[in-house]
Structures are given as C-alpha cells and as structure tokens.
C-alpha cells in the first residue's frame, strides 16, 4: 500500500507539470493582455507598451514560463498583475470560503443522495422511485445559474427567510482569524454569529449540492438494485436475516464501490460549480476570484488557481482509490 501511494504521487508530478504548461499557455492564448485591461478606455499604444514592459510581458514566452516554473518550485506563485499582491495571499485569503462551501455542499449532496437512492431502490419501478428519478433528473439538468437565482428570489426576497448573498452579516463584526467562519464563530462562542453563518451557507450549498446529490442518488439506486438481485442477498433473506441488517451488511457493503467513485468524481464537478455558485451568491471564494481573474487576464492568478484545483482533484482521486481497498477486501494494491 505505501509503495502504491508513493507511485501514484510520483505519477502525479508529470501530470501537474502538464497542468502548469496548459494553464500557462491557455491564459496567454486568450486575446489581449492585462496591460490593456488595466488601462481601459484611456489607453494609448505607448502607455500599453510601457506597461507591458514593466509587467514583463514583452519577453519571449519560454523565458516567462521558465521564470514562472523556477519561482513555482521555490513556492512562489508570482504576483497578481491587477492588484500587485502575491497570488499566495489572494488564494489563501479566499480558499477557506470555497472549502467551507464545498464541504457543506458535498455533505448535503452525499447524505441526501444516499438516502434518496436507497429509498428509490426499495421498490424499483414504484411511485417513489419514479418521483425520485424525476427529482434527480431535475438536479442534473437545472443549471446552477438558474437554480441559484431562483432559490435566492424565493427564500431570500419573497419569503425573506435567508440572506441572499455574502458569508456573514457585515454588521456583526466578528473577527475571522482562520477564514472558516463556522469555526471562527463557534470557537469564539459567538453563537448568534454562528447561526448567521449557517443561514448564509444554506442557499449556496443547497444550490451547489444539487448536482452531486442527483448523481449519487442515481448511482446508489442502480448499484443497490443490482446487488439486491445477487444470490447472497436472496440467501440472506431466505435464512431470515432482518431487512435492515440485509440492507446494511449485505447490500450497502457491496453497493458502495461505484458510489464512492461517483463521489470522488463529483468533487471535480463541485469545484467547477463553485465558480458559478460563488458569483450568484456574492461568495468571495476562489471561484469568484477565478472569474474576475480570467476577465481581467490576471495570468498568475488564473494559472495558480488551476494548479490548486488540479492538486485537489489528484489528491481526492488518490483518496478514492485508497478507499476501495478499505471498502472491499478483494481489492489490494501493491
């Protein structure tokens, strides 16, 4: 097992190298450059040239890449072209927001998805199954940019139950040392603020959880139905094992594997989803940072954010593969 993990980590090095190359090339292939964006309507060709030179954009592209890589290997992600702040600072200040949102969305999505999937599999083809299949179909097909504003309008504006945007009521003035607001408010015993943070989390995380929920529900349903038809389940039922025990020990134990794969894959979709969700709900995390950075051609921010997303994706995939071995003794890695 340790050798397997080591091998996987070694394999991910060329992958990450490839990601830096693609990300670097991708942002530079977009027409125009940050110098134009910074100067806006008032630009003159001379001013653009001056700014390009001072930003180092006039040098050969391979030279820029070599410098980027050499800085990267020393842990320096470069500076934002627009704000002139270190990219690490920009990313780390916004990362907790995205992580908090993603984790909540994943928890909601997986819990609800498992529950719905198992409920639907109980009587395949029945009314519950039909209703839940429709629900998961909706979850997959309604885009975030439709669902988000819809929930925002109904629960935020019309019913006025939940806040429409942001992470916390700015009037509360709680200090936020870690940036994880649930932790920051709870650890200071600010329970009123904690409730406010939870209220702010509900709409965006429910919006973001729809896709994973639907995917997990569908996969759980089909996987459970398949396992239910296996001989050992029939045997267990014949020898009089109580249904809850069958579901837990015989069915779910074997149905887990494809579900875990889907959960792992959903992390990727989730990261993509944060980009839109954060824009809709004024959630100032990495997603909204990337949107702004792409619009402004802020090269180093885009590159670094893609790199961070790639690292997360690789790590999650590794964890999923490792979990196979834990869930199914028949699988072992050498």
């Amino acid at each position: 097992m340790p050798r397997y993990i080591l091998r996987r980590l070694l394999v991910s090095i060329p992958v990450l190298f490839g990601v830096t190359l693609i990300a670097f090339a991708f942002v530079r292939l977009l027409p125009g450059d940050p110098a134009v964006t910074i100067l806006g309507e008032r630009a003159t060709p001379a001013a653009i040239e001056r700014l390009r030179t001072s930003l180092g954009l006039d040098r050969p592209i391979w030279q820029q890449y070599a410098e980027y890589m050499s800085n990267l290997l020393q842990g320096d992600l470069g500076n934002s072209t627009i704000t002139a702040a270190p990219v690490t600072k920009e990313l780390f200040s916004r990362f907790p927001a995205t992580l908090e949102l993603s984790i909540c969305a994943l928890l909601i999505g997986v819990t609800a998805g498992l529950w719905l999937g198992r409920a639907a599999a109980r009587r395949p083809g029945g009314g519950t199954d039909g209703g839940l299949t429709l629900l998961s179909l909706l979850g997959i097909s309604i885009p975030i940019f439709v669902l988000g504003p819809l929930l925002q309008y109904v629960f935020g504006v019309v019913l006025d139950w939940l806040p429409t945007s942001g992470r916390i009521n700015p009037r509360l003035f709680v200090s936020t040392p870690t940036g994880f607001l649930l932790w920051d408010t709870a650890s200071q015993g600010e329970w009123g603020a904690f409730r406010d943070v939870v209220a702010h989390l509900v709409l965006p995380s429910v919006t973001l959880s729809m896709m994973p929920m639907a995917m997990v529900a569908r996969m759980t349903r089909s996987s459970v139905i398949e396992v239910q038809r296996e001989d050992y389940v029939r045997t267990a039922r014949a020898k009089g094992v109580v249904p809850p025990r069958i579901a837990r020990r015989h069915v779910m134990r074997n149905a887990w594997l494809p579900v875990v794969t889907v959960i792992g894959l959903q992390v990727g979709a989730l990261l993509a989803g944060t980009v839109i969700t954060e824009t809709v709900f004024g959630w100032n995390g990495v997603g909204s940072l990337v949107v702004n950075a792409i619009n402004q051609r802020d090269y180093f921010v885009v590159q670094s954010a893609i790199l961070v997303f790639a690292v997360i994706f690789i790590v999650v995939n590794l964890l999923v593969d490792i979990s196979y071995a834990l869930l199914d003794p028949r699988i072992s890695y050498r």
Binding site: P31, V36, E41, R42, S165, T176, G282, L289
Partner: protein, 552 residues
Amino acid sequence: MRQTTALWLASSCLVAASLVAGSAQAQSEACGTTGGTMIVAMPADMLRTDLTLASDTQAWYIGGNVMQGLMGPKPGTLSELIPVLAAAQPELSDDGLTYSFTLREGVTFHDGTPFDAEAVKYNFDRWLSLPPELQPYAPYTASTIGFGDASIISEVNVTGDHTIDIVLKEPNSSFLNYLALAGFTIASPTALKAGGADNTVTDITQISEAQGGKGALIGTGPFSFKEWVRGDHTTIVKNDDYWDEAGVPCLDQVVFRPVSNPATVMAGLQAGDIDFAFQVGPTDVPIIKANKKIDIVERGDSCNMFELALNHAHAPLDNPDVRRAIAYAVNKQALVDNFYAGYAAPANGYLPPAFQFAKALDLPGYDPEKAKEILAKSGLTPEQLTVDFWYPSDVVRPYMPDPSGIFQSLAADLEAVGFTINPKSDIWAPSYLDSYVRGTYPMYLMGTICQWASADNFLLTNFFGYVDGEPRKQWNYRNDDLQTTMEAALGAPNADEAAKLWGEAQDMLGEDLPIIPLVNAKPPAAARSVVHGFVSSGNLREQMNTVWLSQE
C-alpha cells in the same frame, strides 16, 4: 493570559467611553439618527489602499471618504471646487505660476500626526519623485502633474507652519482640478514612512501601505480606515475627532462589499442585505420603482459621454460631409428613451453640459432627409458608403447599458439614409479595447468617463490631444489649429481666457464633427428607503458623512 484579557477589557471600555463622549459633543445637526452601519455594494473590490498607486473607481470612492486633498469638489456638484485642507482658495501670482496656499489649522491625521505645511510638502515630494518602477501604477499622476523633470511643478516651498507655495513651470488653467483628484489627497507622512510608501521601496508588493497593511489610508477625513479583507469587504469608521464638527458622520461605520453580479445586488437590496448599491442598470430601474422599500438615487449632472466614434484613417469617414450626414442620421432621443430608462440626455456638444468651460454647440439633430440630401450631393457610390461598424459583445458600461441594442438602433438609422453597415463585434476586454487603441476599427461605440469635470480632461486628455506630436490612432483626427488652441487654453493665465479658448476649440469640433457625441448618461445608484441624507454627484466624489439610517 488573564492580564491580556483585563487589558483588553479596559481598553475596550475606554474606547466605548470615548465613543459615547464623542457622539455627545460633536454631531452634525442634519443627522436624523446617529449610529448604525450601512452596507454598500460595489461592483468590484479595491485594487490597493493607496490612492496614488491605485486609481480604480472603488479605491477612489472608498478612499475619498477617508483621505482629503487641499482642494476638493463641492459635494453635490460636478466641477465646483472648494478648499478642503486649504483654509481658503489659493492666491495665484500675476504670472500665473505660483499658487500660495494657506492651510487649515488644528487638523490632525487619523494616527495623531499634525497636519501642516511640511506634511503637504512630503506628499508632493513623494508624488514627484515616485520611483520609475511604481510610475505605471500612477497613471493620473503621469497625465496631470507628471514625474521628476517632466513635471509641470518646478518647486514646492514651505513658507510657514501652515503656508505653502506651489510653483509651476508654465501656467495651467486646470491645475486646481488636478489637485482635487483623489490621487492627490494628503496622507500622514508618519504612516507613509511606516508603510514603506516613502519611495524607498520599489516593489509594490512590499509596500504595506498600499496592500492594506501598516500605514494604509491614514488621512484627515470624516471616516477613518478600519480594515480591508481582500475580496470580501472594506470597513471605514466614524472619526469622532474630525476637524469639521458639523461634518462628523451620522453613521458609526460603512462597510463596502464587492458584489459583481447585478442580480445579486438587486436581490440584496430587496431582501435588505444591502443598503446602498453604487450602481444599478437601466433594466433594474422598473423593478426598483415598483418596490416601495427601494429608491433610485439620481446623480444629477452627467460626467460622461457616449459617442459614435469615427476613425478618419478609414474612408469615407475622413470626409466631413459624410460625418455631417451621420450626425443628421442618428436618432439620439430614441437611444435615451429605449436604453437608458430616461437616465441620460442627448449630447449637444463635445463636453457634458455641466463641465467647466462646456459650450452647447447646436450639433445637427435627427433629420434623415437632410442626411440623404448631403450624401446624394457627395456623389459617393453605395460601395463607398459601406462601413464596418463595431460594438462590444459582452459588456455593460455606465454610458452604454446595452451595446448590441444600441448598435442595432444606430445601424438601422444609418442604413435608412443610404449607408451599408457590416455589423462587427468583439469581446470588450481586451480585444475590443486593444483594437480601438490601435486604430483598427473604422466606426465603433465608445464612451468616456470623467476624471475631473473640466474641458481639458475630455478634449485634451481623453480625446484629441496629440500623443508624441501625432493624432491618436483611435480617431486619426488631425487638426493642428485645434491642438494649438487646446494647448493655449490649458496654459491660459486665468479662467476667462481659458473659457474663451476652450469655446473656440469646441466651435472647431462642432464644425468638423470628428466623432458624433450621442448621449450623456446619468447612471443612477439605488438605496433602501431607510437611507437618508445621501448627497449624490455625477463625478462619484460622494461623501458618506451626511448619511443616516432610519428605522424600518
């Protein structure tokens, strides 16, 4: 641990006590209520916390409530300048070169540093000798007072504790307009030194004063800077010791949140999560008007111009008759009615009407018959009257709420009189801006937002002033007489002479019609109806100290 807690408790009690004392002694009488926090939605985050090294709308808007200059625009007006940290209007020497300022006494910066002539000189020295590495971050300094040897200022002389002379190399009729910019607000020298903003640090990432750290935004304004949480919010708090007792803020704090998505802003206003929206689009106006809890905040006189830009390097746009025909062909009023929800006026000159030195020109009005007549007389063939007309596909600008709709309206106007229009579009940033700057587009939509509301800002700085002795590629409009007149107007020793020369320059433009001014937009803000006392202004130099919040 216990000791620190005790200390903390003690100091917070002191702070609380001083807050109470402060609000009791000095409070603007105009406040309906005092206290409270207002949440303001801005379209984007600030770039940096140094108003010289950042010139984005957000930094200047927020920073303008914390930092003050010698001169400033009178709240609620576009171009009227009042002394702020100067005690009175400066005296100008007969040769038009020396501005003698008497400074306000008894003013201290938010960090306790006294405000005096030495502090002012320190700031001027910093601007003038900004290291070359930092100069690209200060485009307004470059285009106004300039750096080092290229500066229009020859010397800054302290003549007493609270008197200072600024000597120019040549007379400049817009000099006080420059000084009133947010980029020339006076910061505490102590804070500048502590924050690495004393020109010793050339790497902008290492200047904590500009990055929201030590020394950031220490000025003399009615609010003081509390914190900037990058990407999340900026908080400014009431300055109880503000030098102008009548101007002490009603509010305790103002929090500025960057919210880029206009729909999110609207939802926030309706739900009460946002009290004030810096900017709302014309399509949101009917929703706001239908909602009793939200009001439109009008901004008075326009400080921008939206134009049908023409590049004279492309035939037939070099032909004055063709340009005149275009001017008669376009229906400006239709644009105002259909795309701006009424928050605009047809442009009737080359400057927004409330600008200093603006002259109404009686430009050609909507008259398609006359346009046809001119084109018929010109003898140009339909092939020669075929033009590529460009518009940006993905952007909304304060002066241009719906580029593709406006394009269609104008293209229809032009085709109706005999032009053949090839519709062309591109994404705004950066391709559209890039091609515009390089002069690739023959005919295109473009607009200009004021930095200061005087003739030179539009006509010379943004439009037709030559760059390195050559006409700008955006228009390729060569008019040496105009250039000479504009330079003379800027160098005029007094306002009367300047007004006369700027008038002549505008007459030349009205004669030549190098580009077609379309509308002067008045993009509104919006506020929940609990917000009172807000003094709006088209130049966006708005002060939050008069604002108060009522109970819902």
